[in-house]
């Protein structure tokens, strides 16, 4: 009886196996040449043409790491490749250690047969690019040799550690003016890592002991891009001094701030960083900076280029930005108010105009509040003459405001510390075109504030406010 039972179970399990099958994903990643008797350190020992690299591994202590329990991927340069290695690296233990670490990544990475590019973190915290044929600039020969704690690839070139963009900029002798300007863009903040926390406030933020240690932070890292970040990839332009001076001067009248974080030089350098890696052969004629401004590229102006660990650096002798890109037209959208003068029902409308185009605007209707105001602001308004236009459409389907009404635009005047009437707008129903309000030149650089004000009336259909947008068109030479 028992025996029968066992047969039954055995047959059942066979039948179950019959139904199972191999998963496609498994097949795709299947490894065929695993040698489970060796670890990476032993595998390196056994390769005669990798003996120099193996020597470096041993002198820097990484042989113990590669004999450890974690899994690693090693890209080992051949002896021929290391023959031409910079002697300064070999002679300096710290540099050598960094050099070896630049060829090792934690975890096992099979050669990607699909040809995808992967960016891997290496043991020195740099990132290396690994494709189906290449590790950084070195060519990977043949398939990897898998052992019990990882995989070993042979590459035909040494891959010395690269500087990141920030370090390269600081060490570069090109563009001293730009380097010094950016390097000095700093604020001093509490060193939270080393300060003593004595409690937490109601919002859960830490309270520090008096006189906490302070640390300097570069504002370029915060306001534009942290060029030290190894995990990101940027393209960065260094302007030689003459170009830097020329471009800064071009902007100086429009951005006349004395604050180094907001002066003309800042509005120049904020557009020198672009997301992504663009080697010289892949540069288009125009790039878009991280801040959304067009960067005109002329390859003839590029003096030299450097492949950094986190991107590309191009040194240029000219980068002539267009004024209209640097001092762009802008809109203040009605449906994005900053504040209102009283708690009333604001209608954030979605409507169709006469061309069937969807637009969003704001309406405040029958609010029973004389001179009701909606406040808007725009930071860092460049000093230039603007032509100002407004678009406000009443009387569309569903809108109770079918009668003409009046609304006013006030601009804040920092000299008198008060709002000054700029324009009184008679809004006729179904006016789809913009209304030209007039010319405006801000008295000074800085925050620009607008108040949209209703009629001095509490009556329905008279006190209404409607605004799609205000458009400011700079008048440039």
């Amino acid at each position: 009886m028992t025996r029968k039972y066992i047969i039954y179970v055995a047959l059942l399990s066979i039948s179950t196996v019959l139904y199972s099958c191999k998963d496609n994903l498994e097949l795709h990643n299947e490894l065929t040449n695993v040698d489970n008797s060796l670890d990476l350190a032993q595998k390196l020992d056994a390769q005669a043409n990798l003996s120099i690299f193996n020597g470096y591994v041993k002198t820097t202590g990484y042989d113990k790491v590669l004999a450890g329990a974690q899994n690693y991927t090693v890209w080992a340069p051949t002896n021929q490749a290391l023959a031409s290695l910079d002697a300064a690296i070999v002679s300096d233990p710290a540099k050598l250690k960094d050099f070896v670490a630049n060829h090792i990544a934690l975890s096992t990475f099979p050669l990607n047969k699909e040809g995808d590019t992967t960016r891997l973190k290496l043991l020195n915290n740099k990132f290396g690019v690994f494709t189906s044929t290449k590790f950084e600039e070195g060519t990977v020969s043949a398939a990897g040799q898998f052992v019990k704690n990882g995989v070993l690839y042979t590459v035909d070139q040494a891959v010395p550690t690269k500087q990141n963009i920030w370090d390269y900029m600081l060490s570069s002798t090109d563009g001293a003016l730009q380097k010094n300007y950016i390097n000095n863009l700093s604020i001093t903040v509490i060193d939270t890592a080393n300060a003593t926390v004595i409690g937490y406030n109601a919002l859960g933020n830490p309270i520090f002991a008096p006189n906490p240690p302070m640390i300097s932070r570069n504002t370029y890292w915060v306001n534009v891009a942290d060029l030290r970040d190894e995990s990101q990839q940027y393209t960065y332009f260094i302007l030689q001094d003459a170009a830097f001076t020329a471009e800064s001067t071009k902007l100086s009248t429009y951005y006349p701030s004395v604050n180094p974080n907001l002066n003309a030089s800042y509005f120049l350098v904020k557009d020198l960083t672009i997301k992504g890696v663009y080697p010289i052969e892949k540069l288009p004629d125009t790039l878009i900076s991280l801040q959304g401004v067009k960067v005109p590229i002329n390859k003839a102006n590029i003096i030299r280029s450097y492949r950094a660990s986190n991107g590309m650096v191009h040194v240029v002798n000219a980068l002539p930005f267009r004024l209209k890109d640097k001092i762009p037209e802008f809109k203040i959208e009605g449906e994005k108010p900053q504040a209102v003068s009283a708690a009333r029902t604001l209608l954030y409308r979605t409507k169709l105009d006469n061309l069937g185009k969807t637009f969003n605007d704001i309406e405040v209707y029958d609010h029973k509040y004389a001179e009701f105001g909606i406040f808007y602001s725009k930071a860092n308004l460049p000093v230039v003459k603007y032509k100002v236009y407004a678009r406000a459409i009443s009387g569309l389907p569903g809108d109770p405001q079918v009668a003409a009404f009046m609304q006013r635009y006030f601009f804040f005047n920092p000299a008198t510390v008060s709002y000054t009437l700029f324009y009184t707008h008679l809004v006729n129903p179904l006016t789809y075109n913009e209304t030209y309000l007039g010319e405006y030149t801000p008295a000074q650089f800085g925050n620009f504030q607008v108040r949209l004000t209703a009629a001095n009336s509490t009556n329905v259909n008279v006190s209404t406010l409607i605004l799609d947008y205000l458009r400011f068109e700079p008048v440039l030479p």
């Binding site: 047969i7 039948s15 604001l346 209608l347 979605t350 409507k351 309406e363 569309l396 389907p397």
Partner: protein, 577 residues
């Protein structure tokens, strides 16, 4: 001995394979006939009969997934996702073969077999005086209606099917299903109409108040759990082309609460209104600030249009909308299969098609908003993907019949019967606003004479199914005065008044409205087939499927259109692996 052992091994191997096989296709033949209904001993008293009714409905609920997928994925409003199984991709692209699990009709027949068995036992019970004739009439008619409803659906999907009404004793008989003589769809309709007209109990509700089957259980009312006889009869006549009979049956439900002493029921139930009564009728599209401001759209499971799906079955407002809907309960089996299918966090097999999204976005509301607010309340768009919500709100229900479907089907019948303006009224702004001719004061209807007031009544004799009294002034409130039309309740602009005299044009608009209002609820494919069949215009169906596939980037869109131009290709093969 040796021979014997070999035999044993062979039989055990067979057993092993068979048992493994039966695990992998558990659903196909797992008919619980033996342990629930087969024994005559199970039918001793009326309580046993009630248990059988509830048991059948419990099993019927398991058909929702198949029903929705066949009716919606084959239509143009629902589409597959990048995660959908190959079977669903085929179903959506009309390339399904008999190997496709969604082609197999046997799940339907398993319920039918059980219906037949229960009906036979009910008959024996009444013959042996174990059940009163009155109890018998209601229960028999209920299960018979359910069976006919399944047959109608089978006919729509498969064309010719075996129409089996005798009890099959064992499950094995189901295996020979494909060998049964098949009844063509048109003859099936005749048989179903004759059978359902002959049922002994045909009132608006399956069970009147006081019946033991009407209870509140686990916070759910059972009143709308059961198949709606008049709705089914209306559908059968509509498919058959007998429009006046269809309209009569639909009107029976529209007016089901007209004599209720409670005005809240009389004026609100099944009337499609926007009166805003929070307890009885709060199912219109609502805005917290203004109809001009889409950000203030009420998107709630308890109020506004989405509450149609979110409210509990015990709520009066919910009941004012639904005729037949079966709730799921997260505490019990079966689990609502739509949660897994619709949620981007789960297996995510289905989503709204671009075609229905475009249709919603081509509507304009009274407040000038350039999209149909029902879209935002039917599915939820997020970075994860578009999630159909109306089938899963508050745990979800399988909702089959509700008021807008009734009004649209009634309008379709009335339109074909020559009453195009009445169809326009129910579709757009309601009876009163469409028919009133008279004085307005400050934009408000203010009849100054009885003659003007009486224009608010549709111009038909009181005995006609087309008679609706929508009078309203300070003295009179006609039963239908709150009716505001399907588009009126959804606050979208009316279609052009020229459709009041355009029969074929209005028919198309009624089907478009069914998409806007009833998307994903399981009506689309039958709607397309019915109209294409009636108009003898395969392009009505083929063009819509073509648009769905085209907008989804399917390279075979025009081939599929070509295929669907032949009505023979509308039907699933009555055949399976």
């Amino acid at each position: 001995m040796k021979m014997n052992l070999n035999k044993k091994i062979a039989s055990l191997l067979l057993l092993g394979i068979l048992s493994a096989g039966s695990w992998s296709c558990k659903k196909m033949l797992d008919v619980p006939t033996e342990d629930k209904l087969d024994s005559v001993n199970a039918f001793k008293t009326v309580s046993d009969a009630d248990a059988a009714v509830i048991g059948i409905y419990g099993q019927f609920l398991g058909l929702e997934k198949l029903y929705i997928l066949q009716n919606e994925l084959r239509g143009d409003l629902m589409d597959v996702t990048s995660k959908s199984s190959a079977d669903l991709q085929e179903l959506s692209a009309h390339t399904e073969t008999k190997n496709n699990q969604y082609v197999d009709p046997r799940p339907y027949y398993q319920v039918i077999v059980n219906c037949n068995d229960v009906l036979k036992n009910f008959k024996m019970m009444v013959d042996d005086r174990r059940m009163s004739v009155d109890d018998y009439n209601k229960r028999y008619s209920d299960i018979a209606t359910l069976r006919s409803w399944i047959y109608l659906h089978l006919g729509i999907q498969y064309g010719s099917i075996p129409y089996i009404t005798d009890a099959i004793e064992t499950v094995d008989d189901l295996k020979n299903l494909a060998n049964y003589p098949k009844t063509p769809f048109d003859q099936l309709l005749d048989k179903l109409i004759a059978f359902n007209e002959s049922l002994p109990y045909k009132e608006a509700y399956a069970y009147p108040t006081g019946t033991s089957l009407l209870v509140t259980i686990d916070a759910n009312s059972t009143q709308k759990l059961f198949a709606s006889k008049a709705f089914l009869l209306g559908d059968l006549y509509l498919w058959k082309g007998n429009y006046i009979k269809a309209a009569e049956n639909y009107a029976k439900l529209m007016n089901a609460e007209n004599n209720n002493g409670n005005d809240n029921f009389r004026f609100n139930f099944y009337k499609i209104n926007n009166s805003g009564d929070p307890a009885y009728a709060n199912l219109a599209i609502l805005f917290s600030r203004s109809g001009q401001d889409p950000t203030s759209l009420i998107n709630s499971l308890d109020a506004g249009w989405r509450a149609i799906f979110g409210l509990p079955t015990t709520s009066s407002a919910w009941s004012s909308e639904w005729f037949w809907s079966m709730p799921y309960n997260t505490a019990f089996k079966p689990v609502n299969p739509m949660i897994d299918l619709c949620s981007p966090l789960k297996s995510y097999q289905i989503k709204p098609s671009q075609a229905i999204k475009d249709l919603w976005n081509s509507q304009i509301t009274y407040g000038g908003i350039p999209f149909d607010p029902r879209s935002k309340l039917s599915f939820n768009a997020s970075a994860m993907g578009d999630e159909i919500t109306k089938l899963t709100d508050n745990g979800g229900k399988w909702g089959i019949y509700r008021a807008p479907l009734l009004h649209l089907r009634f309008s379709e019948a009335a339109n074909r019967d020559g009453q195009t303006k009445l169809g326009w009224a129910l579709l757009n702004t309601g009876i009163r606003n469409t028919y009133y001719v008279g004085t307005f004061t400050a934009g408000v209807q203010a009849p100054v004479s009885v003659a003007e007031l009486n224009t608010m009544i549709t111009p038909y004799p009181q005995t006609s199914p087309y008679y609706f009294d929508a009078r309203k002034n300070n003295d009179v409130s006609g039963t239908w005065y709150r009716n505001c039309g399907i588009r009126g309740r959804a606050v979208v602009n009316s279609i052009d008044v020229s459709y009041q005299t355009d029969k074929v044009g209005l028919e198309g608009k009624l089907i478009d409205e069914a998409a806007l209002e009833l998307a994903f609820e399981g009506n689309r494919w039958p709607d397309l087939v019915r109209i294409a069949r009636r108009q003898n215009n395969p392009a009505f169906l083929a063009d819509r499927i073509y648009q769905k596939l085209l907008k989804a980037g399917n390279p075979n869109a025009s081939l599929t259109r070509q295929k669907l131009m032949d009505p023979a290709n509308w039907y699933l093969p009555f055949d399976w692996k």
